[in-house]
């Protein structure tokens, strides 16, 4: 019996991450992710087709206006494929970011009535974005086939960049979700921020447009590393992610670890404030 002793006292100072507790609650993580996926397209006419319609529509619009009319260079790949291969990680990121940032507030009942490691909530929110990604991914392969592009061996790196996109979203999501509990301003900041970020990320254009000497600065936006890496793994192409990837990855790592600690630190007041 005493092996199960639990001590409850006010915590002070630095917190530990207590990742084993997160592992213990993996089933809850699974069920919450599963709930978010299940509920996502309930009572919609198009249902899961939305996962395809959104990036498809954006791709067509961008291909026409930027690719066809403005003649934005696309590093040798057909522009639609070029754009779509960036839209995939971008949408994964944008969705995961907004979901995780709002996740704590959206689950306030859970937080104020049940105990579990709160990290489960934003993590589940990020994971639930994967389903859309996989569906749209199928479309991407149709597109590749249509343009007769064969994936290179670099394709094996793709999962790493998918993970990278999710960790990026989670890193920001941890900060925002914890802040959102206290300041609901966050909710209004996210859509606006995501929109801004889209323009400074190489979605509709290639980062080769940015002068080489400024690329490290450009890569402070972690989505630069994510998108360029993703594109490289899929289409090969001239740019091989190097310094940008390193910069982006370091930024994400710092944000992520900082976010974890910040989240854990704020966690104890969630139930009182939310």
């Amino acid at each position: 019996m005493t092996s199960d002793t639990l001590l409850i006292k006010p915590s002070s100072g630095w917190v530990t991450l207590d990742l084993p507790a997160l592992w213990e609650y993996r089933e809850l993580l699974y069920f919450l992710t599963w709930r978010d996926i299940k509920v996502r397209y309930k009572q919609t006419a198009l249902g899961v087709a939305w996962a395809v319609v959104q990036p498809l529509f954006l791709m067509v619009a961008l291909s026409f206006f930027l690719g066809r009319l403005a003649k934005v260079p696309s590093d040798g790949s057909p522009y639609p494929v070029f754009v779509f291969s960036a839209l995939l990680p971008w949408q994964l990121f944008a969705y995961a970011l907004s979901q995780s940032s709002n996740s704590l507030v959206a689950n306030d009942r859970l937080i104020s009535k049940v105990y579990f490691p709160r990290l489960v909530i934003p993590v589940a929110a990020v994971l639930s974005g994967l389903i859309d990604f996989f569906i749209a991914f199928v479309l991407l392969f149709v597109l590749l086939f249509f343009y007769g592009i064969a994936p290179t061996t670099a394709l094996w790196f793709l999962p790493i960049f998918v993970l990278f996109a999710m960790v990026t979203a989670l890193a920001a999501g941890l900060w925002f979700s914890a802040l959102n509990v206290r300041y609901r301003d966050v909710r209004y900041t996210i859509p606006f921020m995501t929109q801004g970020l889209l323009f400074i990320s190489p979605v509709a254009y290639s980062s080769s447009l940015v002068p080489e000497s400024w690329r490290w600065l450009y890569a402070l936006n972690p989505m630069v590393g994510v998108i360029e890496g993703f594109r490289w793994a899929l289409l090969g192409g001239s740019i091989r992610p190097g310094i940008e990837l390193a910069v982006s990855a370091s930024i994400v790592l710092i944000l992520f670890i900082g976010g974890l600690f910040y989240f854990r630190r704020m966690e104890r007041t969630f139930a009182d404030v939310v």
Partner: protein, 457 residues
């Protein structure tokens, strides 16, 4: 040592109250954050208790100055032994739920500590995390996982849960199509199948219709008998009396009393009435046009002698003093007294209009006296509401206006005291035994029971 399941020592929780307290501005926070990090990093090793204490002091100080705060719990210490079922009672806002929230780790104490030996499950609400779009089956799994059950455990108990909730036919229907009764039954059913060593329960029995409540209570009783440790918060005194051997009485964040349930419940009920505090005349929480105000209450013996408490089976007079705002004779006055039992249930109603007739005229000052022959109440405390209409309009209406204390007495004149745990009301009655052949003659028999039957009371 291992005997103890829960030990709390000096648990306290401070909550800020009011707008200012709960939402500080972003600017303020950023400023303190910046400040703190500058202070912290150069001397991180030196950031010791002293430093921390000063920053905490500052916070408390500023709390005291700007935002008001309140001790939802203050110095709460108690022990619960393994296998014990302990009730937690107290008025709304006394701190019962805060206590459970701390013990279930939802929120942290501000100071003090608690030690829990064993796997804890807490039920502060049923149906937490239910999603209206998901089916009953899906919600069982989701809710079970949220409450801390493993998937295999849910698999095993699934049929039992569905049976208990009586929703077999609707397992695959989204719960938003459920009636509220079905919804609550399902929610309780999942919760009821949680099997931790230590269970913390908050007021979850207040769901569903009477039949289902009874079923829930039965389930809780079964849980209690299985030897699990339970901490049970409720306003339902019957449930507390039935389930808990000992109880904790909490008032304004402090433990007032911890002991045998019947004594604690009795004291709690008394405190509820007495703590309304002011005498009847000074109460402001009343409704009506105040043409009359009740100003006092007295218990008298049948002969008109004042007494501290009434006695079961003896005549009692309830005397309600009143005073009118205009010093003229008032016409057409209706007075009613509603008497309530332990769970605030209506026991009976003493009203001028149905028993006799309203008073045609009354003097501007005086008292209404109600005689109850052979007071048919068990020992205990009974609160009452007072109601008065003058010329058809409500003049004064006071909830929980006072309490009638009743001491044990020989109601049936049988030389025995009635058992005190079998309801609150005592009724005169008689018993007969009839041979088979005579079943049809019951009315005659009853009429002549004075002579032939064994007569009680």
């Amino acid at each position: 040592m291992s005997e103890v399941a829960i030990r709390a020592a000096g648990l306290s929780k401070l909550y800020p109250i009011g707008e200012r307290g709960s939402y500080d501005t972003l600017r303020d926070t950023l400023a303190t954050l910046l400040n703190r990090s500058f202070r912290r990093f150069p001397h991180r090793k030196k950031m010791t208790a002293e430093n921390r204490a000063s920053s905490k002091c500052f916070r408390l100080h500023s709390d005291g100055q700007h935002a008001e705060s309140i001790w939802a719990l203050k110095d709460v210490s108690f022990e619960v032994k393994q296998g014990e079922v302990v009730g937690v009672i107290g008025r709304n806002g006394a701190g019962k739920s805060t206590l459970l929230k701390i013990l279930s780790r939802i929120t942290e104490p501000t100071s003090g500590w608690a030690e829990i030996h064993g796997r804890v499950g807490s039920l502060l609400e049923v149906g937490t995390g239910f999603h209206p779009e998901l089916t009953g089956r899906e919600n069982i799994y989701l809710n079970g996982a949220i409450l801390g059950m493993k998937k295999t455990e849910i698999d095993r108990k699934f049929d039992e849960m569905v049976d208990f909730a009586e929703i077999e036919k609707f397992v695959d229907t989204p719960v938003k199509r459920y009636s509220s009764g079905m919804y609550m039954r399902l929610a309780f059913s999942v919760a009821a199948h949680l099997e931790p060593e230590i269970l913390l329960v908050d007021e979850v029995l207040a769901v569903g219709d009477a039949a289902f409540q009874k079923k829930c209570l039965g389930k809780m009783g079964a849980v209690a008998r299985e030897g699990r440790t339970v901490l049970f918060v409720s306003h339902n005194m019957t449930a507390i009396l039935n389930l808990c051997s000992r109880s904790i009485l909490i008032d304004r964040g402090r433990v007032l009393e911890y002991g045998a349930t019947s004594a604690v419940v009795d004291n709690y009920l008394r405190s509820v009435y007495v703590s309304t505090g002011q005498s009847l005349g000074q109460r402001q929480d009343r409704v009506g046009n105040r043409r009359i105000e009740f100003t006092g209450f007295q218990l008298l013996t049948g002969e008109g002698q004042p007494m501290a408490h009434a006695i079961s089976g003896q005549d009692a007079l309830l005397r309600f003093e009143y005073s009118a705002s205009e010093k003229t004779v008032l016409r057409n006055v209706h007075v009613a007294v509603g008497v309530h039992g332990r769970n605030d249930e209506n026991l009976f109603h003493l009203s001028t209009d149905v028993s006799v007739a309203d008073f045609a005229t009354i003097p501007p000052d005086g008292s209404f006296v109600c005689r109850i022959p052979r007071l048919p109440l068990q020992p205990g405390h009974y609160s009452f509401n007072l109601f008065c209409k003058v010329s058809g309009e409500i003049a004064d209406w006071v909830q929980n206006a006072g309490v009638i204390e009743v001491a044990a007495g020989d109601f049936f004149n049988s030389g025995k005291l009635p058992p005190s745990d079998q309801g609150s009301l005592l009724l005169s009655h008689s018993w007969n035994v009839l041979p088979c052949a005579q079943v049809t003659d019951l009315s005659e028999q009853a009429g002549s029971s004075e002579n032939t039957g064994f007569h009680v009371g």
